[in-house]
Symmetry: C2
Subunit: 334 residues, 2 copies
């Protein structure tokens, strides 16, 4: 059996799956993302995960698609100075091609996910599709007029780094001021909770004390919120407002027909996600798109990355499709 591999390199977890040439997920395995090591550490781990999966299934690999945390250098297929992984920069495409001797395509994780949405998810039949992840970071993949946006370095969708606050209080992991991700992503919620706790004049609830101490996690926060904690309610309301403003900015910037939400914060908290979506309209000028949680669930990036290898977008093929390996002619490239 011939297969492709779809890889999702996240800030804390790497998921690798084998996918049939007709797009079905066969087997997926996960590992923690290395926070230390050299520039090849991540790629060598992924290569060994793929080899392990192949040996368990007895399949032949014909191509690999990788959706990774960004920013990236789209020409080299490397991750460059990412704010949420200890390693900051690491190589992906070249070492994977050397290790596995097949074509490897590397894009931003949300670019992979939106491609999956467009080919086999909620975006099938639409020409304008946006995927947004609310997770450790905040990211986005965009298709406008059936064209997948890449940009000069492959980062034409870093909407997690659009500015939603100019007060200077919120500093993003990338160093930028007032970024959406710097306020509302999983990695930054504890910091935002502390800033809001320092300004809070209401009752000293449990969520307030944990926030002030800087020890509240997103999971804690949403649990306190469901228990009726008044500070948690204030903080979650603030985050929903920020996310609604961010999503509206995305819709005003790209004018999509369909917008899907993925990432652990969206997927684990559909109540919060629906409150967020209900607040988007007051920030919109463009006609609202269909908005929903991704039907691809937490495999959106794995599936999308695999679809990148199966039906490579023309502009990515132009940039990264230089080498040709033996399995290549089996793939239904679009």
């Amino acid at each position: 059996m011939k297969v492709v591999a779809g890889v999702d390199i996240g800030a804390t977890k790497i998921a690798t799956g084998l996918v049939s040439l007709s797009g079905d997920v066969i087997l997926v395995e996960s590992a923690s993302t290395p926070q230390r090591g050299g520039s090849l550490t991540v790629a060598l781990l992924v290569a060994s995960m793929i080899r392990d999966l192949l040996s368990r299934v007895g399949a032949t690999l014909v191509a690999v698609g990788v959706g990774t945390i960004g920013p990236l250098d789209i020409r080299r297929g490397d991750v460059v100075d990412t704010p949420n992984v200890g390693l900051r920069s690491f190589k992906v495409r070249d070492p994977l091609q050397r290790e596995l001797s097949v074509d490897v395509y590397v894009v931003n994780d949300c670019v992979a996910a939106v491609w999956g949405e467009y080919r086999v998810g909620a975006g099938v039949g639409s020409s304008n599709v946006v995927y947004v992840t609310l997770s450790t970071g905040i990211g986005c993949g965009v298709i406008v007029d059936d064209h997948l946006l890449l940009g000069k370095d492959g980062n034409a969708h870093e909407v997690g780094h659009i500015v939603l606050d100019t007060s200077g209080r919120f500093v993003c992991g990338c160093g930028g001021l007032g970024h959406w991700e710097g306020i509302a992503s999983g990695a930054n919620i504890p910091k935002t909770a502390k800033i809001l706790a320092e300004e809070w004049r209401g009752p000293r609830t449990e969520a307030f004390e944990r926030s002030l101490a800087g020890s509240i996690t997103p999971e804690d926060l949403f649990r306190y919120w469901r228990q009726g904690d008044s500070f948690a309610d204030y903080l979650v309301g603030f985050l929903a407002e920020v996310n609604a403003a961010g999503l509206a900015s995305v819709i005003n910037a790209y004018d999509p027909e369909v917008l899907t939400l993925g990432g652990s914060i969206s997927l684990k908290n559909p109540d919060f996600t629906n409150i967020t979506l209900s607040r988007v309209r007051k920030y919109l000028i463009n006609r609202p798109p269909r908005m929903l949680i991704t039907p691809l669930g937490d495999l959106a990036v794995v599936i999308g990355a695999a679809m990148m290898a199966i039906n490579t977008p023309a502009n990515l093929l132009k940039i990264q499709g230089g080498r040709r390996f033996s399995g290549y002619e089996d793939l239904p490239y679009s």
Copy 2:
């Protein structure tokens, strides 16, 4: 002589020019934008301006390109519910085609301008180009990977309506909250000046009194600023910060190689524009593009609209290129 017409429909002014098939501007005339009338008022005015120009030059018209204030319905070529013109909605494409019997292409004014920048301006040779206007409104045109962004309704670039403030203090002309345009565009500067004056605790300067009374214009403001008025200095600093955050969001969203600035606020106040540009970097995650005031000056939209008619982008041709008139075969369509 065969010519195309390039039309710039702005909030306060309509400029119409004749352009040779090799891209040279022959003659331009201006009129005030009608704020009242029926759905055909704007189109009939433009048609009479074009006829007048043609008779003065003795030229034959082969196509028309229009860059208009948005938002628009890209399929019909109509303007729909624009916040800054009294008429709100009006038809452009169909009545112009009927009146002039040539192909007419209608896009957002900044979409036209970025196409002009890409074909004959600062974007020649670049695949990723963004044009931003700071004027009565704030708008943007975007080319990513040599692809002109349109979106489901032709509004895949309404970045004037990205959200930069969630305090609820600033209401945009479109009704949305905290939009860049709602804070920093020419139409909204008097309102922002009043809000900041009400919060001001410094000396009661002339600019402060005018702002508090709601009677300061952008021209006044920049004059007071150059004269050293302390409230004007505070307000201009605030606007530079908001514009820097907005431009950084645009760069983070589209990853351009070149970003040009047009519109009356940028063109008339290069000192302010340069201060704004110097503050962009602290909000960036993407690699900075080349940033400059457009070399096409205040004819950017007229020239870009004409280039739309001369070398129509493939996706626009698909949407609006249904009719074929006699002059069509003379045009070097790309």
